[in-house]
Amino acid sequence: MTIRIEASAAAPGVAIGPAWRYPRRPTQEETAAEHDRQRSSRGAVRPKLTKAQSVAAVTDAAHRAADQLTALADRLSEAGRGDDAGIFGAQAMMATDTALLDEAIRRVRAGMDPVEAVAESATAAAEMLAAVDDELLSARSADIRDVGARIGRILRGEQPELPERPSIAVADDLPPSVTAEIPAGFLLGVALAGGSRTSHAVILARGLGIPAVVGAAGLLEAVDAATDAAVAATDAAVAAGSPAPLAIAVDGSRGEILLEPSDDDIGIFRGRADELAKRTRRAAALRDRPGATADGERVALVANIGTPDDAPRALEAGAEGVGLFRTEFLYMKRLTPPTEHEQMLAYRRVMTAFGPDRPVVIRLADVGGDKGIPYLGLPAEADPFLGGRATRLADRPHDLMRRQLRAIWQAGALAEVTPHAMAPMVATVSDVKLLLQLRDEARDDLRSKKLPCAGKMVTGIMVETPSAAIIAAELAQMVDFFSIGTNDLTQYLMAADRANASLSSLQDALHPSVLRTIAGVVRDADSAGIPVAVCGEMAGDPAGALILVGLGVDELSADAGSLDGIRAALAAVTRAELDGLSTRALASVDAESVRAIVEPYLARLTG
């Protein structure tokens, strides 16, 4: 009977196949043998090594682990997987690191069993690193554990566990050494009980284009119970020594796992896989074309990016520019503010990648009390989202906005493009006056010092406070463009905290009150002759995208992975249909009715 397990979608796709459980569960015989071994004295089971022999064995195993890892790194590097190669290069270095090997030898000299000594030393080193208050560094503790496990396997004379046939991996999390050594084509999908969207196995799955789900509570228990039940039901198979592996189906787009799927379920999953493949082919075929409706009205489709490293993926997805370059990454996890030069390098890199015809809109840093940035010395506030942040901090002594604007002027000059910038959290006319004043002062200062400086800066604001939406007519006279941040606009319009899950129904940007607000902003922008973009999650959702374009929005900015979907949705409708759609949506009373109105248009894509 099919068992259904909910999980979080981590890498899109659908796969059906045998489950491969990692780590392997010990068989009954092995469990019994282990039990005996623990009962009898250790020396009776295997010949006791002298301390000198034990030290030599640990040293030798560590060097063999380092050699294996170096060979693995070289192989990956030749295959063009430089990032993965780097992980194993670092692991090779850890294998003979004094903090691991010398510690293990010290334990062996004190009389500990070699395997235990390595395991304890690796755990101790991993725990120390895990305690470092930086995500990037503490995440490396998994590598130390992985290296320790490898040395332990060598000491015990074991081979690494790998699947013997094309399978779906079932684990709490998969260590990088295991994922890297699974032969090509043997990994059909990944189902993790733990893990996260940034787990190494998930990143690998996305790279291979295979589905992955994470956070599947109860997965391992259910798989083990189902396996035991299957074994009990087929005594003959056990006697033959090869019980049939458990069948599992994974939907990495919806976040769904099925154990022992019925023929009907398999049919449904196969149908989804075919549909997905068809849609991916169709959407990818549109990538060379700019965003447009079926009757040819242009809608610019641009990307939201969080660091310069996101630029290649956005370009690959056919982004016609960047509508939101979040710059907070420059300010986080450090003790001093970023230098102008450092910022300039980051901005220039993205501007150069997109070139003069695909504008990159840099959002000035949206930092405040919630981000915990030590060098700003901001007081703790009861409600940072209604507190001192972004433009409201512009006149503070640390000069964040002034320095950022100088870096943007310089980056534009050096990349030979017209720089675009926008300010978040604008509420008043004086906010905009301050922005324009700082922008011009930065330019004049650079010019007086004969430093590189672009000729002009296209300057906009985010419309995300109710106040900005209400006085949009006045603000539109002062700036070159608007970008509506629908996530915050919805939160502030509805007076419902985005982070409060119990209020999630109020966080729906399709609510008519949000739509009517956006319609008003677009009307005021049109009167002033400036374009309007939307850069919230609503823009990346095909339903939201259709309504926004219906309301007259000129540009949609979304994560690179959403661009194919909204491009295909737009290409399936005409301008007249979108006009009718938005008129009916504006006249609705709740988000559910709006969704029902859009549904028939989205159904065309799957038809």
Binding site: G86, D97, L129, L137, R140, L330, K333, R334, L335, E340
Partner: protein
């Protein structure tokens, strides 16, 4: 014994990739070499141990003290300071 202070300007601090390059260079010297994170005030760590260097938790903008003791201590300190200033394989401002 010689020592020099230098600021880490790599965008993500001394994370795995630059730390590997740093440790690889440190091990080419005969002198014992240490690295101390001056922001945390924790004691110096063995600069020839990748695990120790990562555990020092050196974020961007942190100043570290490189100290060497041995026959090539002067070259070691000068070389490692220059390597950090050169970005350890990453673009730095």
């Amino acid at each position: 014994m010689k020592s020099r202070d230098v600021e880490i300007r790599n965008p993500s601090g001394l994370h795995a990739r630059p730390a590997v390059l740093f440790v690889r260079q440190a091990t080419t010297f005969k002198s014992s070499v240490t690295l101390q994170n001056l922001a945390t005030g924790k004691p110096p760590v063995d600069a020839k141990s990748l695990i120790a260097v990562l555990t020092a938790g050196v974020l961007t903008g942190t100043t570290v003290r490189i100290a060497a003791d041995g026959e090539d201590e002067t070259q070691a300190v000068a070389h490692l300071k220059a390597a950090i200033e050169g970005g350890l394989g990453e673009p730095v401002g």
